[in-house]
């Protein structure tokens, strides 16, 4: 269970998060939706300690995220970044097996390579991709490699930051299906940030609507269309009129 309570974060005079409260039960898939610049990525980065919140607390299974052994804490997470964030200087297999080649999870090089190829196969990539450099991959392939890296060490919690941004609808569908399958198969807790409503319906057990620095509505995806929440309704229906101010 991930629990965020009263999270506030400001960058100068820009108050991005104004007391965010959110709970993600273990083994469920939470999708956070909201407009651009509403702080969705910041919320996710606060959990990982990439950004430090100004106030509020974050606990993972009751343990304060900012205390204790940081390596052990981070070893529980996998993350798929928006642009893939693959390391340019390393071939694909070393990107996927990055965690298995160093640190506490270190394995022999051959074994790490085998695991990397297996994970690549799991996300629909052939073994010959393993020795390519990230610059030689298409956008969809880079996302798949990022996904393979996120699951390589079989983490308990996986974060997906805009997993389908920049992909065509067919590739988006493929990535959504993969995410859903992998999360169910691994029994992992997942947190996804997206604008893509097709992704929301494919990936989510629960959704949370973030606007004005707070969660405006949260609940099961099945109740999304009948929530009666004006923010959520406007966002789902993509209307310009409503409580969310649209700049024209």
């Amino acid at each position: 269970m991930i629990e965020m309570k009263g999270i506030q974060k400001a960058f100068g005079s820009n108050h991005v998060l104004r007391g965010l409260d959110l709970s993600i039960p273990k083994g469920t898939s939470m999708v956070i939706i909201g407009g651009s610049g509403t702080g969705k990525s910041i919320a996710l980065k606060c959990i990982l300690g990439l950004v430090k919140q100004d106030s509020g607390s974050i606990t993972v299974d009751g343990q304060d995220a900012s205390k204790g052994d940081r390596d052990a804490f981070l070893a529980r997470f996998g993350m798929l970044f928006q642009g893939g964030a693959l390391f340019d200087s390393l071939p694909v297999w070393q990107n996927v097996a990055f965690r298995l080649l160093r640190g506490s999870l270190k394995r022999p090089r051959e074994e790490a390579r085998e695991i990397a190829i297996e994970k690549l196969r799991r996300v629909g990539l052939k073994p010959d991709v393993a020795d390519r450099l990230p610059a030689e991959l298409s956008g969809g392939m880079a996302k798949r490699v990022g996904l393979a890296r996120a699951i390589a060490a079989e983490p308990e919690i996986i974060f997906f930051d805009e997993p389908t941004t920049g992909l065509d609808p067919i590739m988006s569908g493929v990535i959504n299906e993969l995410i859903r399958e992998i999360v169910v198969e691994m029994g992992a807790t997942a947190m996804t940030i997206t604008h893509d409503m097709t992704s929301v319906r494919a990936i989510a057990d629960n959704i949370a609507m973030l606007h004005d620095g707070v969660i405006q509505w949260t609940g099961p995806v099945s109740q999304m269309d009948t929530s009666g929440n004006p923010y959520l309704d406007q966002f789902i229906q993509g209307k310009a009129d409503g409580p969310i101010e649209a700049v024209r």
Binding site: Q82, A85, R99, S104
Partner: protein, 257 residues
């Protein structure tokens, strides 16, 4: 009051940056002493900073040594001191021009590439990815580069010194009529161990400054292409200034105190 306030703000900002760089340097050294160590990244940095810099260092040194011989011969002839070409080329190259020129070439070639690479990694979230993969960016990116530069730049300076002296020798014996054996004898006899020690020490300090500035500005880069460009420019400027300032201080320490 406004001009004064502007000066005050500029000075405070400059001092804050110096403080941040100093703190970054202390953290880099502190991480050098504690595991984990990334051997592959260190070897890759050694190759990039050392081996791949040899051509530019060699060419810079050979032309500078040759030009220095010509200058000393022309200048010395004004007071019948043409014969001191071997000694002045040796001292000039080993004590001053070798380390400074190698340092500046490293700033141009290595600092810029480190800053641009790390800044791009920051902009594309690769540094965040490193953290989520339980890898400290300071240990993985900064320590190998800084340590490699500290170890390999003195070697480059040594090579540059030798090639620079050879450049002077080639010009002096080829066009100025110096006796080859006499030129080498004068060079060897005139140089003292302190000249070589100061040269190599300067190389280590300049290597530290060059790599540190690349890493610091890369890690603190702004967003987008403009952020990467600014980081690279600031890193090269900072490294060049730091190298020249350190050269002044070290010259004072070695030869006047």
């Amino acid at each position: 009051m406004k001009p004064l306030a502007l000066i005050g703000r500029t000075v405070m900002a400059a001092l804050a940056t110096i403080g941040r760089i100093a703190l970054f340097g202390v953290q880099a050294v502190s991480h050098m002493l504690r595991p984990p160590f990334y051997g592959r990244e260190f070897l890759s940095a050694l190759l990039n900073i050392g081996w791949l810099s040899l051509p530019v260092v060699g060419l810079t040194a050979v032309f500078t040594g040759g030009a220095l011989a010509l200058q000393i011969y022309a200048g010395g002839s004004r007071f019948n001191a043409e014969a001191v070409v071997p000694q002045i080329v040796a001292v000039g190259m080993v004590r001053e021009l070798g380390p400074v020129l190698v340092g500046l070439m490293i700033a141009a070639r290595v600092t810029s590439s480190i800053a641009a690479e790390i800044a791009t990694m920051k902009v594309t979230e690769q540094i965040d990815a490193l953290v989520t993969l339980s890898t400290h960016p300071m240990k993985y990116l900064t320590v190998p580069r800084v340590l490699a530069a500290v170890l390999v730049v003195p070697l480059l300076v040594g090579v540059g010194d030798i090639i620079g002296v050879f450049g002077g020798y080639a010009v002096a014996t080829g066009t100025l009529g110096f006796n080859p054996a006499g030129y080498i004898r004068n060079t060897v006899n005139f140089l003292e161990p302190l000249d070589i020690i100061s040269s190599l020490t300067k190389g280590a300090v300049f290597g530290f400054a060059a790599a540190l500035m690349g890493c610091f500005h890369g890690m603190n880069s702004g967003r987008g292409a403009m952020g990467v460009g600014r980081a690279t420019k600031s890193a090269v400027e900072g490294a060049a200034i730091l190298i020249l300032a350190a050269n002044f201080v070290l010259t004072g320490v070695f030869f006047t105190l």
